[in-house]
């Protein structure tokens, strides 16, 4: 999580939604100026599975005034290499969509 969060922030075009100190293994974020579905479609085509949308949490989406987020969930079996693939996928998606 720490590795992925740092990498995401370093991209410079990502807004992380929710940055509590003790959060579960999920990273909710948006690429600046890009609809979460668009990001999701491109990542999907690259073989990277994320969830997009409001995640059944409309009130908090209204609170942040956003249509939804992209959410990557990490489990015990995920590797650093997979995070790198994910970050590369985001770079590609941002390049295509911006």
């Amino acid at each position: 999580m720490q590795y992925a969060t740092e990498k995401l922030i370093n991209l410079g075009f990502v807004d992380i939604i929710g940055q509590a100190n003790n959060k579960a293994g999920v990273l909710s974020f948006l690429l600046k100026g890009i609809h979460p579905y668009d990001t999701g479609v491109i990542l999907d085509k690259l073989g990277i599975a994320v969830r997009t949308g409001h995640h059944c949490a409309e009130p908090i989406m209204d609170f942040y005034n956003i249509a939804g987020t992209v959410r990557a969930s990490f489990a015990i079996y995920n590797t650093f290499e997979e995070i790198d693939t994910f970050i590369d996928g985001l770079k590609r998606a941002y390049q295509m969509l911006s």
């Binding site: 890009i34 609809h35 579905y37 668009d38 479609v41 491109i42 999907d44 085509k45 949308g53 249509a67 295509m96 969509l97």
Partner: protein, 139 residues
Amino acid sequence: MTVNEKADALVKEFSYYEDWMDKYDYIIDLGKSLPLIDDEHKTPDYLINGCQSQVWLNAKYDNGKVYFTADSDAIITKGIIALLLKVFSGGDPQEIINADMSFIDKIGLREYLSPTRSNGLLEMVKQIKMYAYAFSTKK
């Protein structure tokens, strides 16, 4: 060009792109060039039901032809509606109603979309045909 001729031209254009990335790039570029809907029509009345992202569609009837404008908050969705408008905008109502819809599968559009987006696509087509039908009764 008739509506069906425009659809054939589009299928041909897509056949040059082998890679899904190139197809997406083309769709995204189309989305950016879409004739945008006026802000006054960007209201819930013009929203298409059944789309996960928001899509607004408006139509004008001028001199026997139907002209569409649209917008969406997601760029790929915008590209998809732009693709449909490329075929249907400027067509006469009867042509639009009777249009051969096989071009969507020939392009391979449906397989590139998630099921929810594929449903959204059908809703867009339905709405375009509804406008055409409404205008055809005005003649």
